[in-house]
């Protein structure tokens, strides 16, 4: 055991004596300095891992931020990597293996823009290598991966942002309003409690279910030159290559994602979770109405999913692309005392006008670079992001099992349902692992 003198030294260090030169609030890597680091500059350094369509969007985003500098891009497909390097500024290096990127030690923010089966793994690795993380949605591929990301981010003192924004910015798709006034109305209690929220094309939200369905009876194809398929699969089970399983259409396969629900789900449901104040918990009962059984490999259509919280609040998802529709002409949010319809029409009508009088929601940090600089949690971070991510996975579990599921939001496990729990926590293909 260390002695008293050591304790004093350690605590002195923790108080910052050893880092006296460090700025009080801004501590990105370039300021921390140290041997082997580039001299301090005004830029926050970024790496983008995964240079598909969304990855190129991230490259553009970093390029457009005057206080940021893109210094690494990474992809397992040489053609994607070449496209990324073409867009990147001079001096930016290209990599095929993300571990080499994380080995550099001069990157402040890692953008994880791969398919979702990599999201948790790379987020954890980035945090452990001392980077902040900007991760695409959905946050993880399974329920169990979520807590691992939280642990890694928090234990390593990192900041994390999930790449959806509707809780703090932009109109809620076809609903016709931002989330803020809806949050104010709900928080005021003027709609009463518990609430039912309907997320369907009729309330302004298209699910793209058929667009993101997988294919069955697929014939193996030769792997294209320049594409490292084994590294693309990474932690996912090995399956013979078929183009539709990969770039641009991977969302249709359970091994990598979760169909249209996982594509749009976190965009739509994160805002709902924020509005009805469920950032800290999850539904306790989930029931789906969908074609059944599901294919073991390919995601398919679904009709309606109802998720109920322990206080009676419900979120009803309706695809409008399969089966009956119940949400036509129904309100987006309905409570015992009032209703809120698409276009911010209310019943009673006076409620809409009252919003300007209601208290403002708690302020959030909505610029991730501010989070990086101040070390304060981003508006959509690893904790609330995990909860909205879980909504997507709970819905898919109900679709796949075809039965009403009960869920323990604290243990984050299904109750008395080993089948559902096996879907929620799946081992990874070696040598990939989250721990």
């Amino acid at each position: 055991m260390p002695g008293c003198k050591q304790t004093v030294t350690r605590r002195s260090f923790l108080r910052g004596a050893a880092a006296a030169a460090a700025a009080f609030t801004i501590v990105p890597r370039y300021v921390l300095g140290g041997a082997g680091y580039t001299p301090p500059s005004d830029n926050i350094t970024h790496a983008v891992v995964g240079i598909g369509g969304m990855g190129r969007g991230h490259v553009n985003m970093v390029n457009g931020d005057k206080q940021s500098r893109l210094i690494a891009v990474c992809d397992v497909d040489q053609s994607h990597l070449a496209a990324g390097l073409k867009m990147a500024p001079q001096g930016c290096k290209g990599y095929a293996d993300f571990r080499e990127v994380f080995d550099r030690g001069d990157i402040d923010v890692a953008h994880i823009v791969t398919p979702p089966h990599w999201h948790a793994l790379m987020s954890v690795a980035a945090a452990e290598a001392g980077m902040d993380v900007w991760c695409e949605k959905p946050m993880t591929r399974t329920i169990a991966e979520g807590q691992k990301v939280i642990d890694a981010i928090q234990r390593n003192g990192r900041v994390f942002r999930l790449n959806t924004w509707f809780r703090f910015q932009g109109g809620l798709y076809g609903f016709g309003s931002t989330a803020k006034p809806i949050k104010q109305l709900v928080a005021s209690g003027l709609l009463g409690w518990p609430l039912t929220v309907r997320v369907s094309p009729f309330t302004g939200f298209n699910w793209k279910v058929r667009a993101w369905s997988g294919r069955t009876n697929i014939a193996p194809e030769p792997v294209p030159a320049g594409f490292d398929y084994d590294r693309w699969l990474g932690p996912a089970p090995y399956k013979p290559y078929f183009r539709h399983r990969t770039h641009g259409s991977f969302r249709g396969y359970w091994d990598y994602d979760g169909g249209g629900l996982a594509d749009m789900g976190q965009h739509y449901l994160d805002a709902v979770q924020y509005i009805i104040d469920k950032d800290h918990t999850s539904p306790v009962e989930i029931e789906a109405y969908a074609p059944w059984p599901t294919h073991p490999d390919a995601c398919g259509p679904w009709g309606q999913i109802t998720m109920t919280y322990d206080d009676g609040c419900r979120i009803i998802l309706e695809s409008g692309e399969w089966g009956k529709t119940d949400t036509r002409d129904k309100p987006y949010i309905e409570g015992p005392k009032g209703k809120l319809y698409r276009g911010f029409k209310t019943d009673p009508p006076e409620l809409a006008a009252m919003v300007s009088q209601l208290p403002e929601p708690e302020p959030m940090i909505t610029n991730f670079m501010d989070s990086v600089r101040t070390r304060k949690k981003f508006a959509l971070n690893e904790v609330n992001g995990n909860r909205s991510n879980m909504l997507v996975h709970l819905a898919n579990a109900a679709i796949r099992t075809g039965r009403k599921l009960r869920f323990d939001p604290v243990a984050q496990r299904f109750i008395n349902d080993e089948g559902a729990n096996r879907l929620a926590d799946q081992p990874m293909r070696a040598p990939w692992r989250l721990a």
């Binding site: 460090a22 300095g33 140290g34 928080a187 013979p240 059984p293 294919h295 089966g323």
Partner: protein, 737 residues
């Protein structure tokens, strides 16, 4: 023919073809054999039929279908598994749906008996499968549905390169002691990628008996094996691995070092969980002592987390030191961790430090005190609410709201006496989120001594809570001498009143002198009337109203709607008194129910008053547009009459615009009739295109009338966009349509 029909047809064709090629001499023998094998054949036919219908419409229809297959076990299940073929050999999607469905279905609570049948069938199919991908499919299904009964068969595949990984994953997921034993037994012969897989699986299953065998791999030259061994040794949590993982944590190369450190800390966590807290503490303190490079801030954070988990309150010294540190990473981590330390001694230290601190450090300390939940912190936190630094004061208010909501409620409502908007806004912001007993009553009581801006804030709080029991205070505030208070009270009425209050609210509406306040209260009357009482109260007031009050009451009736009110309006409309008629016409034009459409058409057709004429047409267009249940033909008929009644081009344009929103040939004909009128041509062309051409998710109209109308648009309109749309659609329209 859909996909299912196609599959069923395929099976029928195969069996028919076999029958045709059988030599006649064998037919008798075959028939005898068929009779002997009748149950199996029946199962085969039934299973194939069910498979052809997969997936079912929903689980309610799919589960009975799977029950049918289960009833045919074991033959039916065997037949089902035989229908799964290597990728693309045949269309086996239906069989894959059914097998996967059975695996998840029988994993339901109470499905044990069926589960065993399915597991047995999967194991038989696994043994029989020759194709590697097919074998992997059955292993994956066993990973989801298998039990200890399956593990020996899966374990036997650990020695084969292609199957080792799926087998190891399945065994890891099933996770029984026998799984561990099977994987451990596979370790000595494993090489290359199989060795990595086996070592990882043993780590995931925390097999202590494998530590000695795995330890040498922690220094292996092969990077992948070395890193995997680190994980396994750490996750197993055996103290004999401390040295190996310490070396890993001190590796060169940033990623390797980060991994090694992560696993060194994971070992500390596992040791602590196993009761070896001293060892765990030693690892954490060692990292805190040695990772002094500021770039290792994340390691310091992680070590603090694990240290607190391992030794609890004993970590307070390090955490408090970190809280005052200059490294923001570490300070934020300390703020997150400290509230987990529930110790009076720690609270006392935090209080002492908070009392002496200033600026951001004080904000951090006050926030932590709020999260710790120790009431001993209440005095220092309450005192900080008056700090000159607004950031400290705000943090203190939030902290106090957590620690002592009742005290904060009294203190902050008392601050509403101030006339300074800043403290009022700060107090209101905290009160808005405060959960305290007697909230509404305390807020209402504070109205008595509050300043005007304070009263407005308190009324806002009552409104936001829908404090109906405190409506008396809100009614009282409607007579306040300050206009801003009266306005806030008028707004608050919407949520603090109930239908029984409608009489009082109506009286306030009539008494209000400010137009904005009156409009707000009118909204409340309308809302309350719609909740149940209806317009009776307004009608009663109308009976006694003077000429000044009448327009307001008629306007209120218009917003409530209904036949009773409409009758009064119609009577006023025919009164002959200019003022009364004008008020009635305006009320009619604003009417909220479809019952006003006919009277409005009548008004538009007969009135000489130009204003009333326009108002009537606007009213018609508004009512037709808002009634989603009005059939298109009726809507067109109404608008046709309105168009006939319209006199000025602007009036006609209003109606044509409304017709443009109805996708029917009748609407198109009306609109097309206006294309010859130079004053209406362009609005009619735009409406015609909107009615007839395809739009998002809507097909275009077809027929000779459509072709004629769009042709006319092309020839007469100067609106390039409309012409282009019409031309494009005409071109795409099938001949003869």
């Amino acid at each position: 023919m859909n996909e299912s029909d196609d599959r069923m047809g395929h099976h029928r064709k195969s069996r028919g073809a076999i029958a045709q090629v059988l030599p006649a001499t064998l037919v008798v023998v075959a028939m005898v054999m068929a009779i002997a094998a009748a149950p199996a054949a029946l199962a085969q036919s039934k299973v194939a039929d069910i498979v052809a219908k997969m997936p079912a419409y929903d689980s309610a229809t799919g589960q009975p279908m799977l029950d049918e297959i289960l009833k045919l076990a074991p033959d039916g299940l065997k037949e089902l598994c035989s229908l799964v073929t290597p990728p693309q050999k045949t269309d086996d999607a239906g069989a894959r749906y059914a097998v996967h469905g059975l695996v998840l279905y029988t994993k339901r609570p109470g499905g044990q008996a069926d589960r065993a049948k399915v597991e047995k069938a999967l194991l038989d199919a696994l043994a029989a499968a020759k194709d590697a991908d097919l074998k992997v499919f059955f292993i994956e299904q066993l990973q989801l549905g298998g039990s200890d009964a399956a593990v020996d068969a899966i374990g036997a595949l650990l020695g084969e390169e292609r199957f080792c990984d799926p087998a190891a994953q399945a065994l890891t997921r099933i996770g029984t002691p026998r799984c561990v034993e099977l994987i451990r037994n596979a370790l000595p012969d494993a090489k290359g990628k199989r060795l990595v897989t086996i070592v990882q699986a043993l780590g995931a299953l925390a097999d202590k008996l494998s530590v000695k065998t795995i330890l040498p791999y922690a220094a292996d030259k092969d990077q992948t094996l070395r890193r995997t061994a680190w994980f396994s040794l750490a996750n197993i949590g055996d103290a004999s691995a401390v040295g190996a993982l310490k070396a890993a944590a001190n590796s060169t190369g940033r990623y390797e070092r980060a991994l090694g450190t992560k696993y060194y800390l994971l070992l500390a966590s596992r040791l602590a969980e196993g009761g070896e807290k001293g060892e765990a503490e030693g690892i954490c303190l060692e990292l805190l002592d040695t990772r002094t490079d500021p770039a290792d801030g994340n390691v310091v954070c992680a070590a603090l987390y694990v240290l607190q988990e391992a030794v609890g309150d004993k970590a307070a010294g390090e955490l408090l030191a970190a809280l005052e540190g200059k490294n923001a990473y570490v300070r934020e981590a300390a703020m997150e961790i400290l509230p987990r330390v529930k110790s009076p001694a720690v609270t006392k230290k935090l209080i002492d430090k908070a009392s002496a601190a200033t600026g951001a450090t004080k904000v951090a300390l006050i926030s932590v005190l709020g999260q710790c939940g120790d009431k001993a912190a209440v005095p220092v936190v309450m005192a900080a609410m008056d700090d000159k630094d607004p950031a400290v004061a705000a943090a203190a208010m939030q902290a106090a709201a957590r620690l002592a909501p009742g005290d904060v409620l009294k203190l902050l409502t008392a601050r509403m006496k101030s006339t300074d908007p800043a403290p009022i806004a700060a107090a209101k912001s905290v009160l808005a989120g405060l959960k305290a007993d007697g909230f509404d009553k305390t807020v209402a009581a504070a109205m008595a001594d509050a300043s005007a801006p304070g009263k407005a804030a308190l009324l806002g709080l009552l409104a936001a809570r829908g404090a109906t029991a405190q409506s008396k205070v809100v009614f009282g505030a409607l007579e306040d001498s300050d206009q801003s208070v009266r306005a806030a009270a008028a707004r608050a009425l919407a949520t603090v009143t109930v239908p029984a209050d409608i009489g009082r609210v109506l009286a306030q509406m009539l008494a209000a002198t400010d137009a904005g306040q009156q409009a707000a209260i009118q909204g409340v009357v309308v809302s309350l009337a719609r909740k149940g009482p209806g317009p009776g109260c307004v009608l009663e007031a109308l009976a006694k109203a003077d000429a000044k009050q009448r327009p307001l009451l008629l306007g209120t009736l218009a917003r409530i709607g209904g036949a009773d009110g409409l009758a009064i309006v119609m009577k006023d409309l025919a009164s002959g008194d200019a003022g009364t008629t004008d008020a009635a016409a305006r009320a009619l034009a604003d009417w909220q129910g479809p019952e006003a459409i006919e009277p409005l058409l009548k008004l538009a057709g007969h009135t000489d008053n130009k204003v009333h004429h326009v108002l009537a047409l606007r009213g018609i267009v508004r009512l037709v547009g808002r009634d989603a249940n009005l059939p298109a033909d009726k809507a067109v008929a109404i608008l046709g009459k309105a168009l006939a009644a319209a006199k000025q081009p602007a009036e006609k344009g209003l109606v044509i615009g409304a017709l443009g929103g109805i996708r029917s040939t009748a609407a198109l004909k009306l609109v097309a009739g206006c294309l010859d009128d130079a004053a209406l041509r362009e609005v009619a062309a735009a409406a015609a295109v909107k009615i007839a051409c395809p739009a998002r998710r809507q097909k275009g109209l077809t027929g000779p009338a459509v072709r004629k109308a769009l042709g006319k648009v092309v020839s007469v309109s100067k609106n390039a966009r409309a012409v282009e749309q019409a031309r494009k659609y005409l071109k795409s329209m099938p001949a003869g349509k």
